[in-house]
């Protein structure tokens, strides 16, 4: 008797592929984004089925949540700027020099070839490569945390995680440099019920976010998932206009962006000494150091993601000005 869960896997896999095709082929931009968000949530569910709860959490919170919010904000900006706010469907703006059909078909064929090649290579590969299981299991006692994924993220491959936070910092610097001044597509006014919901949800989100950060040492969770949930606090504040970014707050915001990277890099350097290399935490302090880094990085990620959602440096029009080059 086939395992019932396998039927569920097959259905989920079909749903995911169908949603991917649908989200790229539907004409209306708003339905494209909604289909993409459902695709993201279902792929998070698929990763739970592949017993990867951390990744599912990260995909749901960051990959779908924050990305979905960014896409919706950009769509709102497009409709507001092009004056089609009232229209029901927002169709994609085709560029002035559309690429001839021949090149598009050639590209599509080229991609089909690549996908076919990948399929053959994937089926040919041995089912389970040797992998790092033994190495991680043997090194976990010295890592200072119980949960293996957090151990890998913040101890064995801490250099990767530091550079990932640097990527986030580079993103917020680039976004602040691209867009400046006051938002020319203000968030729509959404009425009292929404304000009530936000007032109810905010404290709960803060508690859930901090819980996610704290539980990261023993169970799925950690800095990035907690940071993304806490970023939702920032999004809610921005959407309900409870907080409108002021030019005066730029200094604090810049401090919060760099806090995570600076603390992580400093800890990584200061432990190097007395026979230890960079990123080599002394065993007895390992847990406290990792929790310190995780806390600071979470705060930094939350503020950075909220700033990426706000999408511009809050500069007073006089100083920065819309027309400065």
């Amino acid at each position: 008797m086939t395992d019932p869960l396998m039927i569920f896997d097959l259905l989920l896999a079909l749903a995911i592929v169908a949603l991917a095709v649908a989200s790229l082929s539907v004409r209306d931009l708003f339905s494209m984004i909604v289909l993409f968000i459902i695709f993201g949530l279902l792929s998070a569910l698929a990763w739970v089925r592949l017993s990867a709860p951390d990744v599912a959490l990260a995909e749901a919170a960051i990959g779908t949540g924050v990305t979905g919010a960014l896409l919706l904000k950009t769509l709102h900006h497009l409709r507001y700027v092009s004056g089609t706010l009232g229209q029901q469907t927002a169709l994609g703006v085709t560029p002035v020099a559309p690429v001839p059909m021949g090149i598009i078909l050639a590209n599509a064929g080229f991609c089909g070839l690549i996908t076919l090649g990948l399929l053959v290579a994937f089926l040919g590969a041995p089912a389970t490569g040797p992998g790092f299981d033994a190495l991680v299991a043997e090194a976990m006692p010295q890592s200072g945390v119980e949960h293996p994924v957090t151990g890998v993220l913040l101890n064995f491959r801490a250099y990767d995680t530091l550079m990932e936070v640097v990527v986030l910092l580079a993103a917020v610097i680039a976004v602040w440099q691209i867009e400046r001044g006051l938002s020319d597509a203000p968030a729509p006014v959404m009425g009292e019920v929404w304000q009530g919901f936000a007032r109810l949800a905010l404290p709960a989100i803060v508690v859930v976010g901090t819980y996610l950060l704290w539980v990261g040492a023993e169970a799925p969770g950690g800095a990035f998932q907690g940071g993304a949930v806490l970023a939702a606090v920032g999004l809610l504040l921005l959407l309900t206009r409870a907080y409108i970014p002021q030019p005066a707050h730029r200094g604090v915001a810049r401090g919060a962006f760099v806090l995570g990277t600076a603390a992580f890099a400093l800890v990584a350097i200061l432990v190097a000494g007395g026979g230890r290399v960079a990123f080599e935490y002394p065993l007895e302090h390992a847990k406290t150091l990792i929790l310190l880094i995780e806390g600071v990085v979470t705060l930094s990620i939350a503020v950075t993601l909220a700033a990426l959602f706000h999408g511009r440096e809050p500069v007073a029009l006089s100083e920065g000005g819309r027309h400065d080059t």
Binding site: V17, A58, C111, L153, G311
Partner: protein, 96 residues
């Protein structure tokens, strides 16, 4: 038909769809979305590579890599969307 085979094929299919979208889509937002599909496809592949038969726990290293990949992808998407918003503003002011 173990889960890792099913989801491995899904991952490659999603990567292919994203690739086609990234190269053939005309609208800016759609291309950003297609690239995000590619990144989910690549994530699928790594997580499938980490999956082990149920009694054994999966390999944690690719999980950490995919989390890193997701955060990197969201920052790249944020910069691309900021560029698109800025271009929209400039194009709108030029038309008026």
């Amino acid at each position: 038909m173990t889960p890792d085979l099913i989801y491995g094929l899904t991952g490659i299919a999603v990567f292919g769809i994203g690739l086609v979208g990234a190269l053939c889509a005309q609208d800016r937002l759609r291309r950003v979305l297609a690239l995000k599909l590619c990144s989910v496809g690549a994530g699928f592949l790594l997580v499938v590579g980490a999956w082990r038969e149920p009694p054994a726990t999966p390999d944690p290293v690719p999980h950490a890599l995919v989390i890193t990949g997701i955060v990197v992808m969201v920052s790249a998407t944020a910069v691309a969307l900021a560029l698109i918003r800025r271009l929209q503003t400039l194009e709108a002011t030029d038309e008026r």
